[in-house]
């Protein structure tokens, strides 16, 4: 958790990292292509993988998200602490989802007892 190298001011004293225009352009093209890809995979029926659809859609979205984070947000050139505070919330999200998914779907399927009441009809009429 605590990096001893992370003393005060940790080394690089100039400000943020500067990227060439080409990087930004490539990232933009990449994002647009991936968007088209994800729409095609979802809408064109030849690619229907049933329940796998959502997994593919999430993978594509995660690729897009990581490109944006790494290059547009300069996460690639940040120090270790920033990386930590990006991955820790994602871990918490996965944790929250995971532990709720081992609760809700696996609940005991209790059913009330079937009622066979000879007096049912008359009581219903009275009700």
């Amino acid at each position: 958790m605590s990096s001893h190298a992370d003393t005060h001011g940790d080394g690089h004293d100039e400000l943020g990292h500067i990227l060439p225009f080409s990087t930004y352009r490539n990232v933009l093209i990449g994002l647009l292509v991936l968007t088209v890809l994800t729409v095609v995979v979802a809408k064109v029926d030849t690619f229907d993988f049933g329940t796998l659809n959502i997994v593919i859609a999430m993978i594509i979205a995660s690729i897009k998200a990581s490109i944006v984070a790494l290059y547009f947000m300069h996460l690639k050139y940040e120090d270790k602490i920033t990386w930590l505070y990006v991955f820790f919330p994602l871990l918490l999200l996965a944790l929250m989802m995971g532990l709720i998914f081992i609760d809700n779907p696996l609940r005991r399927d209790d059913r009330p007892v079937e009622i066979h009441d000879p007096l049912a009809q008359q009581l219903e009429a009275l009700q």
């Binding site: 532990l99 609760d103 696996l106 609940r107």
Partner: protein, 541 residues
């Protein structure tokens, strides 16, 4: 020993008297003044919450309705819970002592974002005003706002949940501020393994504050949308699942109990070495235990829901993983007690409170084991055993920690000394009153009395009477202790020296009360702040 120049005394110019207009206080960005403002504000809410608690105890003294109707009682326990948690103990130590001491302890002039610090105080004040309005139109859902009842009841749920939402932001911004401060503003030489254990505890608390509070913020927002627009996420009639509200609520509300108690661990970790004149035993383990508690704290939330109809798989998982949180806490307690071995122990009030903390937290910790064990929790869940357990952890832990901190750093904050004898008498009252209030409630829990009961069967009568007497003694003890400090600050003539307890920690090296910029010039640190006693061969840390 940090060998920067001794604190050159600036005459008597310090953060309190270098500007004394009201506007200079309300618009200050000095972390010390913000800490003091927080202190007075949360004490008001401590009193309000305490009055609610005493009224309930009066009602519960005898079976059958005495002077309250069931609805009034339900409103009272809701307000007691909500005010004590959201308005007193969550800001509690981090906002008051944390704000005041963090920059001093790491040798900084102020927190990372001073103006953001003032903004979070004012967000807290807005939230507090909303909560005061909630006092007027009552809310009777309990501080947990559980879903189907809170979406159906006629009482003003939106007001109090809105207040909690706003207070959550103040907590997030304070946490964010502290994390950046500890990373970026440590003075030269102050590496991570030379940080005082109170700063480690504050750092772990700040991580939880920043990362857990948004979840409850969103959950309360969904509850407000549920009541207002009927989006149906928690409404069983529309397919929603009330247990899902419990999951999201406790995802925050378990880490929040570590927000409350971790700073208190830090305070005890500071006090014991100073009054035993001995280095803190296993300094590294105590620091890493704070972080371990913070991290594992995120994994265990559903042990509050073991009988809420969750699947057996998750009940087993949460029961087992909860023991994972108990281990680091036990390690801390072992280390504190070992610190006192072969020390030169003096019994000033802070030390008495610290020792009382250890005893009370042993009871709190061990009763937690009952509630973590699956088979026993089925019996004890939502009974008075749980009420007694969490009062031992929150009141026995965090509140005693806050009062210990107030006494220990009182000379540093005010430059004066409080009356030692009155403080000790108040300590005895608090200690006796607290135990007399909550030990009978353990017995009530064993007898199977459920919590949040307005009226109870006659066989629970005697324990409730004992508990009410204890509550009165406890309430009197707190007022006695706080008034003693208040009068000492206003009337006491005895000037406190810069370092009355000869502590090695950085905040005691500057004058007390400290100047506006904390240190004449930024100190450099060469050793960790617990270098007491003469070195022995095997003592390398």
């Amino acid at each position: 020993m940090s060998e920067h120049a001794a604190a050159a005394d600036h005459g008597n110019l310090n953060y309190l008297n270098h500007e004394t207009t009201l506007w200079s206080w309300l618009s200050t960005v000095d972390h010390k003044r913000i800490g003091i403002m927080y202190l007075f504000t949360i004490t008001i809410f401590f009193i309000v919450g305490g009055i609610a608690a005493l009224t309930m105890r009066m009602e519960l003294a005898s079976a059958g309705p005495d002077f309250l109707t069931p609805d009034q009682y339900n409103v009272l326990f809701t307000l007691h819970g909500a005010i004590m948690i959201f308005l007193f103990i969550v800001p509690g130590i981090p906002a008051t002592m944390g704000n005041f001491l963090l920059p001093l302890m790491i040798g900084a002039k102020d927190v990372a974002f001073p103006r953001l610090n003032l903004l979070s105080y004012y967000i807290y004040v807005v939230g507090a005003i909303m909560a005061l309005f909630a006092l007027l139109n009552p809310i009777d859902t309990g501080w947990t706002f559980y879903a189907p009842y809170s979406t159906q009841t006629k009482s003003a749920v939106i007001l109090m949940t809105g207040a909690a939402f706003v207070l959550g932001f103040s907590s997030i911004l304070t946490g964010l501020n502290f994390v950046v401060t500890v990373h970026r503003l440590r003075c030269p030489g102050m590496t991570w393994d030379r940080l005082p254990v109170f700063v480690w505890a504050l750092y772990a608390t700040a991580v939880i504050q920043t990362l857990a509070t948004p979840v409850v913020g969103m959950t309360l927002l969904l509850l407000i949308m549920e009541r207002w627009l009927g989006v149906g996420i928690f409404d069983p009639k529309m397919g929603g699942d009330p247990v899902l509200f419990e999951h999201f609520f406790w995802f925050y509300s378990h880490p929040v109990v570590y927000i409350m108690v971790l700073p208190a661990f830090g305070v005890v970790g500071e006090i014991i070495p100073v009054f035993s004149r001995k280095p803190l035993f296993g300094y590294k383990m105590v620091c890493y235990a704070s972080l371990a508690i913070a991290l594992v704290g995120f994994l265990v939330w559903a042990h509050h829901m073991l009988v809420a109809g969750i699947s057996d798989t998750s009940a087993i998982y949460f029961s087992v993983i909860t023991f994972g949180v108990a281990i680091p806490t036990a390690v801390k307690v072992f280390n504190w007690v070992s610190t006192m071995y072969k020390g030169s122990i003096s019994f000033d009030t802070p030390m008495l409170y610290a020792m009382a903390f250890i005893f009370l937290f042993m009871i709190a910790g061990t009763t937690g084991v009952y509630l973590a064990t699956l088979a026993v929790d089925v019996f004890y869940h939502d009974t008075y055993f749980v009420v007694a357990h969490f009062h031992y952890t929150i009141q026995g832990g965090a509140v005693i920690g806050l009062i210990a901190a107030l006494h220990f750093w009182f000379p540093k904050m005010t430059g004066k000394m409080y009356n030692e004898h009155i403080a000790k008498i108040a300590f005895v009252l608090v200690f006796v009153g607290f135990n007399l209030t909550f030990l009978p409630q353990f017995v009530l829990g064993m007898e199977g009395m459920p919590r949040r009961y307005f009226d109870y069967l006659p066989e629970f009568q005697s324990m409730h009477r004992l508990s009410t007497v204890g509550a009165l003694v406890n309430g009197f003890g707190y007022t006695f202790a706080l008034l003693n400090l208040l009068f000492a600050w206003i009337f006491s003539k005895r000037k406190a020296s810069a370092n009355p307890y000869h502590s090695l920690s950085l905040e005691w090296q500057t004058q007390s009360p400290p100047i506006h910029d904390n240190f004449v010039e930024t100190p450099t640190v060469t050793d960790y702040p617990y270098g007491y006693g003469t070195p022995v061969e095997g003592g390398a840390h």
